[in-house]
């Protein structure tokens, strides 16, 4: 009785200590999110006044957005840019992580390499964008200079005038900024795998590649899923690099991402708040659906694998009995 009373006495501190978080979240996050939803159904345009008039057809902005070719392009670009930087990024990060954690390989100075590979991640993305804009400068830029000296190209390439090279540049920068970070997460993941599994593989005479494919990769699955989802949510909001690298949109809107589209609608002169709000709500919903299905897809795969293994074990048991 007494104990319960003392517990109750202290419970209020739990509420009290969480209160600043809760109030700040309500005021600076939840309210703006709800407000964005409301604006997306309104006719709010022009100078920021905050007066909200609902449209007679509340979904007009959404319909406008779905019919907007530029917006559809921007969504497509965002996904394409994300995929084309994520796949090489996760592959390279996993391979490097496997090398750095391989005891037989015993890579020297791995700390030095890790430090250098991670470095671009800490530098301001805005600076990186301008930096690469200058590096890929044409007709005279350091990279054109370098490639011509090595004989890769005969004449200077105008990287940002061609949709493909412009996109490739954005994807490359994202890849370059993030593979080191993903690699470090992978290394931590591999170090977290039960060493007994590797010992068992070694006793069974597994080669390095077999161990990697049969032990390391399956065990890394949760970490890969974590990286996939966080990278996806980050990638869908890609803004700094495409915004500053190629004058906001690139040739034929090739590098226009959804976040840059939202920015252009709201802050690009016309102040189409309602349409920017509708675009960001659509982006939010797309994000939620895809991130959710990534989770379910992987969970499902796991469940199927478990079921298969169970069935196999049951069959083996039955045969053994027979």
């Amino acid at each position: 009785m007494k104990e319960k009373k003392s517990k109750n006495k202290y419970a209020k501190y739990g509420y009290l200590f969480s209160l600043p978080f809760m109030i700040t979240f309500l005021v600076f996050s939840l309210y703006p999110i709800i407000y964005t939803f409301m604006i997306s159904f309104s006719d709010l345009q022009g100078v920021a006044t905050g007066d909200i008039n609902m449209l007679s057809n509340p979904f007009q902005n959404y319909m406008d957005m779905f019919n907007n070719q530029t917006f559809r392009t921007s969504l497509q670009n965002t996904v394409v840019l994300w995929i084309s930087n994520f796949i090489p990024q996760i592959v390279l990060a996993t391979v490097l992580a496997a090398w750095f954690t391989n005891k037989q390989l015993n890579v020297k100075n791995s700390g030095f390499f890790k430090t250098l590979f991670y470095m671009p991640n800490i530098i301001t993305a805005a600076s990186i964008a301008i930096l690469f804009g200058a590096l890929f400068g044409a007709p005279t830029g350091p990279f054109n200079d370098l490639f011509m000296r090595f004989g890769f190209i005969d004449s200077p390439v105008h990287w940002f005038r061609n949709p493909t090279t412009a996109r490739a540049t954005v994807a490359f920068i994202q890849f370059w900024m993030w593979y080191g970070s993903t690699m470090i997460i992978m290394i931590a993941g591999i170090n977290g795998i039960n060493p007994a599994l590797f010992e068992a593989a070694a006793i069974d005479g597994a080669t390095g590649i077999q161990t990697f494919l049969k032990v390391t990769l399956p065990q890394l699955k949760p970490i890969v899923l974590f990286t996939l989802v966080t990278s996806f949510i980050g990638g869908m909001q890609m803004f700094d690099i495409p915004m500053l690298l190629v004058d906001r949109s690139g040739p034929d809107n090739a590098t226009l991402t959804a976040a840059v589209f939202v920015f252009n609608q709201a802050f690009g002169g016309a102040r189409l708040w309602n349409r920017a709000a509708a675009a960001s709500v659509i982006l939010f919903v797309v994000c939620g659906i895809i991130a959710g299905s990534l989770f379910f897809f992987f969970r499902d795969q796991d469940a199927i694998a478990v079921k298969k293994a169970k069935k196999k074990a049951m069959n083996a048991l039955k045969e053994g009995n027979a």
Binding site: G14, A48, G50, M119, I122, I130, A134, D145, A277, L283
Partner: protein, 277 residues
């Protein structure tokens, strides 16, 4: 055995190429910051510094780019946000770990959900809201929201669960220490390593952000470093290559210094963030 050696040679070669890929862009940047525009136009790639640093500086300061103002503003914002995020996230995490209250689990699930929400969704409503209460062109909307940092709360909660002994809290109670004083005087010092790791990431993350400061701060005296960088695209610098390289170098330099001093802790922190699943 020999095959292994050749394989190893290519492995190191590959690692060295990747290292060069990390270093080369910055090396070119620092060298070109000292070269004149005609020199750069003649030969954009060079590893020999020239003598035009001061001259580039003069050209750089003609336009809107001001590294001192940018540095100062970025520092105020990121220091403020870091202190608030670290302190209040620890307090929230302590509230979850140390006390039993009815909505504790629901509250923690809420924090995990917030963690997954992409920030872009709120930006239009946030901007309109700040405009109405006259907080555009103010640092408040860039600093105060850091009080609610779900990722930091998550990290701090994990750390407290591993390190906090409730007996110690109980002992402090018997000694007559108030709950708030216990947190400040006993719990916070225990959390020092976690505070330091998180502080680095919040500081750098806030320093680097572009979207929100760019739309909120229209007055030049308030511009942050990333906004300053964006100015290097402006017409005034179109023909001044040397000045642009120097401006870039100046914005990158503070982060290089931080990384040179703290890279060990930063890399350890990234690893910790990854295994939280």
């Amino acid at each position: 055995m020999k095959k292994f050696k050749i394989g190893k040679f290519f492995l190191y070669l590959f690692l060295i190429v990747l290292s060069l890929l990390s270093v080369l862009p910055f090396l070119i940047m620092f060298v070109n910051a000292t070269r004149s525009t005609p020199e750069i136009q003649q030969q954009a790639l060079s590893f020999i510094p020239s003598t035009y640093l001061v001259n580039n500086w003069r050209h750089l300061m003609v336009g809107a780019f001001n590294p001192f103002v940018g540095f100062q503003n970025s520092f105020i914002i990121s220091a403020g946000a870091t202190i608030l995020a670290v302190y209040f996230s620890s307090l929230t995490a302590y509230g979850i770990v140390a006390y039993d209250w009815k909505f504790k689990n629901a509250f923690f699930s809420l924090i995990m959900t917030i963690l997954m929400i992409p920030g872009t969704i709120a930006i239009i409503g946030f901007f309109q809201f700040m405009w109405q209460i006259g907080l555009n062109n103010s640092f408040i909307p860039l600093i105060v929201p850091a009080i609610a940092s779900p990722g930091v709360v998550f990290f701090m909660r994990q750390y407290l669960q591993a390190t906090l002994s409730l007996e110690m809290v109980e002992a402090a109670r018997i000694d007559g220490s108030g709950e708030f004083a216990t947190f400040n005087k006993i719990v916070l010092p225990i959390m020092k390593p976690a505070l330091a790791t998180q502080a680095i990431f919040i500081m750098v993350g806030t320093w680097n952000q572009l979207f929100l400061p760019l739309v909120l701060l229209s007055r030049q005296q308030l511009w942050t470093m990333p906004i300053m960088v964006a100015q290097l695209q402006g017409n005034i610098y179109r023909t001044e290559f040397g000045a642009v390289w120097l401006g870039l170098a100046l914005t990158v330099l503070p982060l290089f210094v931080v990384y040179a001093l703290l890279s060990k802790y930063i890399i350890a922190g990234v690893a910790l963030g990854g295994v939280k699943e």
